[in-house]
């Protein structure tokens, strides 16, 4: 087990830098998720920590040891690939134990460890099979067992669940999380799925174009997004964005919409300032027309999501959606009112996209 420190990491393919001066520090035992749209450099970052990709500049330390120039096998890390990367010419048991056998660990020592990880991941009945005779979920479990049995200092996962169907993905996600609670091994998990990141992470590192956009716990990322990009990326249904102007008395106005804002959260706002409001559909609900911060709109569409429904409305020609459990009473074409608390309003600088939250 170990902490990981990356300082001033640069990675270029040819002249084009994919990652440009990235600093990151991951404490021991933490489950960190690299989240971001595809192509933002998550895999590249992970592969540099694994040692599969050379850094162009910067240093990487694992457990206080500088591993920047070490081959992957010497770093004490284990990786699980999106494609599972099982050895097709070996049985499941041999796949799992290859690393230990290669290190010359004795058979009598390997057997109980194999039994333990196979039990933990439910692989005991399949140990003699070839990987190609297993389902996708079983194959990914074998890949996890292969990583676990070596008791590495760090686990690296590169989109391990992307090739599985939704149901299995959820199940394995829970298993990975449970496994981490039990083993407490420092883990980096790469995904482009924000829901997966939110449910599994101790901390999320949200990346964009090779830079860290925001780093924090899932709650911090969700409740206090540092920028328009983060707010837009996290949460389903996606946040509504509205251009507005600040008026006297900490009120934001956009056409027929007038929302009173929290002076504590946004002390720096001045009348006349152009801002971008961010309203999460999930933080709004149906309200009386005269309720504080009520917004009136014409219903365009109601989407049934089971326990709740998303209501998409038209307000001054733009679409705003909100989520309500009472969506069954709402009909398209009706006029509805919905509202949210001032402390749930996000405000961004329309130029830089950064949050204007004061604290």
């Amino acid at each position: 087990m170990a902490n990981i420190t990356c300082s001033n990491i640069v990675k270029s393919y040819g002249a084009f830098p994919v990652i440009d001066g990235l600093d990151l520090s991951i404490p021991d035992h933490e489950f960190v998720v690299f989240l971001g749209p595809s192509g933002c450099g998550k895999s590249t970052m992970l592969r540099m920590i694994a040692g599969l990709e050379e850094v162009t500049g910067g240093r990487i330390e694992i457990g206080g040891t500088d591993v920047t120039d070490m081959p992957p096998g010497d770093r004490g890390v284990a990786m699980v690939f999106q494609s599972y990367a099982l050895y097709p010419h070996m049985s499941v048991a041999d796949n799992i134990t290859f690393g230990l056998r290669r290190q010359g660990v004795s058979r009598s020592e390997i057997a109980p460890r194999l039994e333990q990880v196979a039990d933990m991941l439910g692989l005991s009945p399949y140990l003699d099979r070839r990987p190609k005779n297993l389902s996708g979920g079983q194959q990914q479990r074998v890949a996890m067992a292969r990583a676990m049995i070596k008791t590495p200092k760090v686990f690296l996962f590169d989109e391990p669940l992307s090739n599985l169907d939704a149901k299995l993905r959820e199940k394995l996600r829970t298993e990975i999380r449970k496994m981490h609670l039990q083993l407490k091994t420092t883990t980096i998990f790469v995904t482009h799925d924000q829901l997966e990141a939110m449910t599994i992470a101790d901390r999320i590192v949200l990346m964009r174009d090779g830079e860290i956009e925001q780093m924090g716990t899932p709650d911090e990322i969700f409740e206090r997004p540092a920028s328009h990009f983060v707010a837009d990326f996290i949460g389903t249904p996606a946040m509504n964005f509205i251009d507005a102007t600040i008026e006297a008395g900490h009120v934001a106005r956009a056409g027929s919409i007038a929302l009173s804002l929290s002076p504590e959260l946004f002390p720096g706002l001045v009348p006349g300032q152009k801002v971008e409001l961010g309203l999460r559909p999930a933080s709004m609900d149906l309200a009386a027309p005269d309720a504080p911060n009520a917004i009136g709109g014409t219903v365009v569409l109601v989407e049934n999501m089971g326990a709740e429904g998303q209501v998409i409305t038209q307000v001054d020609g733009a679409e705003i959606s909100f989520v309500t459990p009472q969506f069954r009473q709402v009909r398209a074409g009706e006029t509805v009112h919905f509202a949210l608390r001032p402390d749930q309003i996000h405000i961004f600088d329309p130029e830089t996209g950064r949050s204007l939250r004061g604290v």
Partner: protein
């Protein structure tokens, strides 16, 4: 009902194709065990008294015996060296040659563009000067051009089909680049590599022109087989058939051996 008919038709067609494909071979094999008068009868004979005379003639004939031996040595050595040098080269090309990989591959292929006649004459001159004309060593040397280039050309795609992730996973477990090649890339690519080697083997086993021009005295089997027709006035059909069988058997044995090797090497992953 329609399904049954189409299935029967398909089977019938398949049987016909097999007969067409294997018929001549079967006839040759039968002919190898026939006496000449059984072969030249106007009515083809399926039932006859088998004889080993033809094989005896062949194996007693020193030219043919030597030809078999020469072929065996020349082909196995050149294919072996071709595989030992060509397969690692192909792996390196498939994995590491990003910038000039295509050029190198094209160069390798271009070695096969030249008609053998074009190189045969200069080679005679060079070999005479070097004193290796009409030696097995000289023949092996030119065959290496064929074997190495063919093995490389056919093995690059085999290694490209090995998922890179597998090699990376092995590297993560501490394997050196050579170990990754030896214990992972090679066994995973083995079935395709096997095809490459068999193809190369057959290519040089049947090679006639260079063998004829560069090693007329130390003749290989194709050279001998080509000259058998002039053994006597009367065309010795039985002997020719037997010679064909002898010519065909080594590649078959070779393929069988490689198959066995392949199966054990795939299983030895367990260790």
């Amino acid at each position: 009902m329609g399904r049954v008919i189409s299935a029967t038709l398909a089977r019938g067609l398949l049987a016909l194709l097999i007969v067409v494909a294997l018929g001549p071979i079967l006839w040759t094999v039968l002919g190898a065990f026939k006496e000449l008068r059984d072969i030249v009868t106007p009515v083809p004979k399926l039932l006859f008294e088998p004889t080993l005379d033809n094989f005896a003639t062949i194996l007693r004939n020193p030219t043919i015996r030597d030809g078999l031996l020469h072929s065996g040595v020349v082909v196995s050595v050149s294919v072996l060296i071709g595989a030992v040098l060509g397969i690692p080269a192909a792996h390196a090309l498939a994995r590491h040659a990003q910038r000039f990989g295509d050029d190198v591959q094209f160069f390798v292929l271009s070695l096969r563009f030249m008609p053998p006649v074009a190189i045969a004459i200069p080679f005679i001159v060079i070999y005479l000067d070097l004193g290796i004309y009409d030696t097995l060593f000289g023949l092996i040397l030119v065959y290496l051009i064929t074997t190495i280039s063919t093995v490389i050309w056919l093995s690059v795609p085999a290694f490209e089909r090995v998922p890179r992730d597998i090699e990376e996973a092995a590297a993560m477990e501490g394997c050196s680049p050579f170990e990754v090649f030896w214990r992972f890339s090679l066994p995973v690519a083995a079935p395709s590599l096997f095809g490459a080697i068999v193809f190369t083997f057959v290519l040089v086993w049947n090679e006639l022109l260079l063998a004829l021009t560069l090693a007329a005295q130390n003749a290989t089997l194709p050279v001998v087989a080509a000259s058998i027709t002039s053994l006597g006035k009367e065309v010795p059909w039985g002997v020719i058939n037997a010679a064909t069988v002898v010519l065909v058997i080594p590649p078959l044995v070779f393929i069988g051996l490689l198959m066995g090797l392949l199966n054990t090497s795939v299983q030895s992953g367990r260790k």
